[in-house]
Symmetry: D2
Subunit: 304 residues, 4 copies
């Protein structure tokens, strides 16, 4: 029989991932800070827990999928935290994006209580979360990875054991720093070409050859659609974690540091809840232009 799984963090990503866990037949005990997001899970068979601790009770594996290191600390630690609810030997699997230091600290805390800890951050975005085709980059012991693998396989397609605890986080930060840099370069290139009077649809089409990320993101920008697939505030958080990891490892990051400040400027404008592409809006405001153009089928009265 499939293992009982506690799933903590039912957000944009977690809400899609947990459905694949349920679909694979695992009994799921779900918790989320904002309880309303749990409601759609009840008809699917999930047990709704009132605290991370309650979710963890009786679970053989506890999955966490939250926004950042402090959110992770909040759901794992304290009187109502998941650690307090676990029975010895339980496997904690953190799928959030955090820094390697946080993973190692949480792993140490878990070990001190006789628990096991694997970090397993993911890449692929909302679409892959929905379809269960995430790439999962696990860091931890071989035994813990082997134990988690079947469960991870319900959510992902490429399941990698990249090294010891902390190294999964580094891998994820490396992936995300590249993504943030690509998005930023797309924004700068679209800005340059649009201000020069080029058809941004053509520009987007050509730039898409450079990266599938651009292929997905550029058309949304051209429609003025900044609804968050990956919110700017989280993209910025990951870039900051990457910069912090680089600092700890002793390696300069000249380009990424400037990417971070462009994001910071857009955050200062209040765009944190928008998609990470919202740096485009900042650039438009600074340079006094709009990248959106008529799409062929739109009437001219809807012109931005």
């Amino acid at each position: 029989m499939a293992a009982v799984v506690a799933f903590i963090g039912i957000g944009i990503m977690g809400g899609r991932m947990v459905k694949n866990v349920l679909k694979a037949g695992h009994p799921v005990r779900a918790y989320n800070r904002t309880a309303a997001k749990l409601e759609p899970l009840q008809p699917l068979g999930a047990v709704i827990a009132a605290s991370p601790r309650e979710a963890a009770q009786g679970a053989e594996a506890v999955i966490t999928m939250v926004a950042d290191p402090s959110a992770l600390a909040a759901v794992l630690g304290g009187a109502d935290g998941a650690l307090a609810g676990c029975q010895p030997g339980t496997l904690l699997i953190d799928m959030s994006t955090v820094d390697p230091g946080t993973s190692r600290a949480m792993g140490a805390e878990a070990a001190a209580r006789g628990l096991r800890y694997l970090e397993a951050p993911v890449t692929g975005g909302v679409g892959a979360a929905e379809q269960g085709t995430l790439t999962i980059m696990a860091g931890g012991t071989s035994q813990d990875f082997a134990a988690a693998r079947p469960l991870l396989a319900t959510m992902g397609k490429k399941i990698l054991h990249v090294g010891a605890l902390g190294q999964g986080s580094v891998m994820k930060l490396a992936v995300n720093l590249v993504a943030a840099s690509i998005i930023t370069s797309m924004v700068e290139a679209l800005g340059l070409a649009s201000k020069a009077g080029l058809d941004p649809h053509l520009v987007a089409e050509v730039l898409a050859e450079r990266s599938p990320l651009i292929g997905r993101a550029a058309p949304r920008i051209l429609e003025g659609d900044y609804a968050a697939r990956f919110p700017l505030k989280l993209a910025h958080k990951d870039v900051q974690l990457a910069l912090a990891a680089a600092r700890d490892l002793g390696i300069p990051m000249f380009a990424l540091a400037s990417v971070a400040q462009l994001q910071a400027a857009a955050l200062a404008r209040g765009y944190g809840e928008l998609d990470q592409t919202a740096t485009m809006q900042l650039l438009e405001e600074i340079a006094g232009f709009r990248v959106q153009r008529l799409t062929p089928t739109q009437p001219s009265s809807s012109r931005a």
Copy 2:
């Protein structure tokens, strides 16, 4: 019968492109500053010219494919330049990567002599040049584009008319600034992950999902292969042209400016003739590590 074509600039790219022009049946009059590079073209039927002017004599179209704006000015202008050899009505097609101002200035000079001028920079790299599958982004009048199209089709697959003279250059600079940013982010990510002890092959594999550029470039870095596909000095030149175009258009480029300085630092180390990925070597020297690792088939004694 196919039009007589002058082809000026037989370098890494031009040397491959001209062969596709020859293969399509065009009589070709070729010129290159370093004459030795012209030799392989003689057995393929090309007429070797002693100057750009001589190459242009009797040609219906003159293609230029040189390193930068000053090289372009050198082959077009002056007593021995191509402009001096053209008969009225000849179509000049510059496929180099230059700034929009240079394109417009050259176009004006051509027009003053009764000549026609199209800019048609390319993307796709050495492989696409060889296979005749370049993407070509032309700027100029519709008539000149229509006239050039069949000839361009011998070298490229996607042949776009992106706008007026100068806009082709902007499109190309936009494409190349994205490429330079992607390469830089890959270098920073590989540096971070390698210094954290991750297997760089695994990192390269995961990052490749973000961009086909990374899929091609990362494996070469891991083999320590910095032979120039696209030399750093040219990549830097294009980034500088993009920054200059952005300056003229009034748009800031925070991230690209830092990419440019990282390239400048690698150039200062003497890596200009190496591939644009050679910023990796700079980062290794600064941070005291090596990204290269054993490939599975190498004996451990060859470990870097």
Copy 3:
């Protein structure tokens, strides 16, 4: 008798410098693109010329003080340019801020016509221009420097011969890049402190210990006074010239490149004619705050 001097470029700086030349007893032939600025010089004894060429006629020394390399080329070259009006042996003294390549090119052109050429850029700002206490950093031959020295001494206090033609420009660019960086850091520091709720007057007072530039600039910012002492567009031009010189010399400029982009962003907002401190306004707009606070005479109830 004092030498006849042509003075070309009667702007914010030149208009003050020429008065000290007149005061020292030199007959002056003045030219300016905008003729209205010449009027105040007539009552002081200056002869008003209708072109740079006319100004240069009969002059023993020709001083140029214009905005940038292209303005310099415009007043020196062409049919109406100063070079065309000079008699052989005339000493041209360019006191503008240009790049070393421009100085060397202009020097070569002058030499080809049997003229002598000294670059003598200045530092000290409007106040020192008025009081004749500029620092002057000359590049050229020792003979030309010795010949120019008495004339330069009418405008400056510290008259330095820093090296060959071109090296005066480098010295000036070095001075101005430091100034631009100091102004930028002041803007960032004032922004940080103001957003944290500190009294900006106190912050300005403490920061002024770091640099007399801050001591002069910060109080004006706090009064919302962005009238140009040194216009942002010229400050940016100098930073760009410094970056270009660094490129030519093979030296990266990581921090300066970011300073340049912050300036570029403020220029894109339309602040080019304001003082170089107008990057403060950009930062305020991005981050949604105002650094200006009560001046001591305002009642505390109106405190922001």
Copy 4:
């Protein structure tokens, strides 16, 4: 009678400051992690303590002067920490440079134990520490500031109450970010001018007009003297704290972020214990030149 003072942290700065406290007649109880540094204080009358807790016992005021937030937490917290040794009502005065969040957190911890807490970071460097002429920027309540003022006056000349707890730290970070930016711009300017062949002594002399910091730092660079007045690792720590505070306050810091990465690169080269000017060495290595030149008294055979 003068109050009994615990002084914790006898480093480059603290070792000089404590002597002025002693000179003013305060009985001092001193602690330092490396005990050897305490020895010179014994003949001056200081009581040497074996732990921060022991130092704090019986003291009316406890001064801390340590390297960073984690060092501060280490000497204040825990079983052997100063907090554990204080009697209720004791005034803790932290003179270290930390971030505002740390100050507020420590202040809250102190308050929870019935203690008072003032942050009082300093500026002026080793010379001012020695002569008792530091500028001190205190954050905390007016009562605590008033109580601390006489003691602070033994170490400083300009004693400012800049605001609530946390705002002293922001002021200090603002001061230090300007200093780090000035040093960086001097390094870039010296690099540019030296590579252009200018006499660096002349450059240093002219640049010194821009900032007294340059006036002190440039001559040492020209002598190849990188002994730490203010170690690069601490300068970088302060820049990072400023960037973190800017992040929290929602304000971008484009230029400072690049300054930070240049420092990070020099740290990665192993220059953390050298003076903050050691970024000059990094630039020399990258660009292949040496800024040091003959000083007037050296024979030319010793030229670098």
